[in-house]
Subunit: 414 residues, 2 copies
DNA sequence: CCGATTTGTCAATTCAGTGGACTTATCCGG
DNA sequence: CCGGATAAGTCCACTGAATTGACAAATCGG
């Protein structure tokens, strides 16, 4: 976004290049800017507000807004009487229910479908709890497609802007196959192709992404109206995922695999990890390690751990403290490396944050080089309830918001 | 760069915003694109070549090229007869000797000045070896300014595009004070203000940056015509610095402090580090640790270590192996986190790479999650001879190349 | 009801890039 | 030695997007 002439084309094995800018690029850019302003303002802005905020003239904003309204991407609210002098403003909002952004998720203990409209409101949703460890991809994808089909009917002709699937593993470049999902026990599965065959979506593109990255995207959206736009997101589940967010955007890395913090080295003499190495963070702060350390069965929900800790159970507190310290060490490494000043703890860590924080803070104090010069914030995630599912749908929404002209011309073709 | 309407303005404590695009933004963008093409093509391109490469029309490229030539940023070479049919092409190059980009460096064992022109050729250079541990900033900056003054005279009226200073420590945001340079023993020093007072440059801005980040910038320039544009750069010195390079640009982080890998945790039971924590990478792979492990005095040059290793010295090989393993562990963490597929070893590691590589590769094999799906490259730095000094000057060059219209209008004001 | 004020629109202007035709300059084959 | 083929660079009329300043619309306050 914000690239003149569309995104820079990173030609395979070539020097990074930028696209030429023509008159149409101006339109695309400014159209995107106006739509972003409508989408992200705390309350619906008027054309004049947008002109003020963007630096464009009212004339230009008017023309652009009209185009957005005509395309069904924005809408005018009834004018609101502000009891101030002057002609009252017509507030603009993102148009709801004009398109469907589909988020899907395959995770270790549930499958999910969530459909948002452009405004981010939920149009439909379905989550099936289950146990998907060591499953066969074709079967699970079939189940997911079966969940989709009644929802597809209920959407009744609403144009589908795209589909994005959250997966608990390494996804190659946002489209390529799922390389490795250790807890599902999947490897080199072309999830997009499997879904394409079963969902009957025609040529609607199916994107794949890592679950933690998408949860971070949902969190970035939740924090949009705060001052926090760059942070490191930690997603505590069976495994520990993470994502780097800069100015509200996921920094995905060269292959889309960035943010993997679960196998940070904590102690070379530590326990052997499922990945084959020794002393990984996951062995100290993963869900299994937390529960085992507290003497709980691995299938118990983490809520029980919080209950035990609140009751003062020694083994629970000890397990949480150990996990907190280990998390702190790994996060200190990460913060020194990528220089962010905020850490957001999601997944199972959010409800446990009070017990984890002392250990984390102690390690950050000791190990982050610049901790004396700038504050470091650690907080629980705002986005709740299958955040990755929301993030997946938001990714589709974001694509339309970032390039409304693309969507408009795409729509006008059908 | 590549942002329509100039860089996005990240307003303090506001949501990230983008600038409005007007006609002039088109010019700026395309002018920058044409200049970048001239600067980065392996051999001097003609107007027609540039049109081909950028996607602009020949007409447009001609107009833009003429503007660049008029501004003294580009120049036409004598036409070259290619023995092909058709009118011969006039090759365009970056104009040499039309402006001066000044790189300065304060490091632990030398001070340096290096002046490049826009084409990247060295116009002047002066390096003074010395021992600057535990020095007083005013004295050292005075020395540096004294080195500058004869060079300034020799540049005889060439316009100075900017000054950038490489420092071995945490620099706040590229301009703010130097927060901490442990080996110089400096803390919260406003180096820019000190230099401004002594260099008599008028209102020419003085930027500051971390030495490792700038060395990485030089390396990125050296690798420009290769296929490598994203990598993690490790700068082995007394301390161990690093930098993240993505598509040829330094990813500096929220405060400009990213890339610090020297205090990655290797073993919580390890030796106490100067930073106060235990088991940092620096204690295993820093210059002092390497020499001490090999039984050498700390003031010896690392060349002696390579000699000992080549002669088969057990303690030298052991020290190098230990360092290699530790580096491998830290790099595995970093690669999992930021997802790059290339590591460049600079500073003292470049000449020692053959001895370090086995340990590094072993750890990367064991700990990088995706190592089975994509190759990881580890190589020695190409840029030699005070790379940070070159990087500092290149940063100034880069600013002009990225925004030629800014430079042109700036120049026309005087 | 009228002036002040603010929103939204209209018309004329400016400016950058495009597309097609044209000029310039070379190579090559007869 | 000349003319056709070929490619580079330029000229010119045109298009499209944003700007500027004026104007119409709609409200508030006295």
């Amino acid at each position: 976004m914000a690239e003149l002439g569309g995104a820079a084309t990173t030609a395979a094995a070539g020097r990074p290049r930028v696209n030429p800018a023509r008159q149409a690029s101006l339109r695309e850019h400014n159209l995107g800017m106006v739509l972003a302003e409508i989408a992200h303002s705390p309350n619906p802005p008027s054309r004049a507000d947008i002109a003020q905020l963007t630096g464009l003239t009212r004339t230009t904003v008017s023309a652009l807004a009209d185009q957005l309204i005509a395309a069904g991407l924005a809408a005018e609210l009834p004018i609101v009487y502000s009891r101030k002098a002057g002609r009252p403003a017509a507030p603009l909002v993102i148009a709801g229910s004009t398109l469907a952004a589909v988020g899907l998720e395959v995770n270790v203990d549930y499958l999910g479908v969530r459909v948002l409209d452009l405004a981010g409101d939920v149009l439909a949703e379905l989550v099936t709890e289950g146990n998907y460890r060591q499953t066969r991809p074709t079967v699970v994808v079939g189940e997911l497609a079966a969940m989709w089909s009644p929802i597809a009917d209920s959407l009744a002709g609403l144009p589908i802007a795209g589909v994005c699937v959250a997966l608990p593993g390494l996804v190659h470049n946002g489209t390529g196959p799922l390389r490795l999902a250790p807890n599902l026990h999947w490897q080199d599965v072309d999830v997009a192709a499997l879904l394409q065959a079963r969902m009957q979506l025609g040529d609607i593109p199916i994107a794949l992404a890592n679950e933690a990255n998408l949860a971070a995207q949902a969190e970035a959206a939740a924090l949009r109206h705060s001052d926090i736009h760059s942070f490191f997101y930690v997603s505590g589940e069976i495994g520990i995922g993470g994502a780097i967010v800069r100015s509200g955007e996921i920094a995905a890395g060269s292959h889309g695999w960035s943010g993997e913090i679960g196998h940070t080295l904590i102690d070379p003499g530590g326990p052997v990890c499922g990945c084959g190495a020794t002393g990984c963070l996951e062995q100290y702060a993963g869900k299994d390690a937390l529960l085992r350390g507290a003497g709980l069965e691995l299938i118990r929900p983490v809520g029980e751990l919080a209950v035990l800790a609140a009751a003062g159970s020694g083994s629970a507190l000890e397990s949480l403290d150990r996990a907190g310290s280990a998390l702190g060490m790994a996060l200190a490494n990460a913060i020194n490396l990528i220089d962010v000043d905020t850490v957001v703890l999601g997944g199972i860590y959010a409800p446990l944050i009070d017990y984890l924080l002392p250990g984390i803070v102690e390690q950050l104090r000791a190990r982050v080089l610049w901790q004396a010069w700038a504050p470091i914030w650690v907080q629980a995630a705002q986005a709740q309830g299958h955040a990755a599912l929301t993030g997946a749908a938001l990714k589709v929404v974001g694509r339309v918001l970032a390039d409304p002209s693309g969507w408009i011309s795409h729509q006008s073709l059908r």
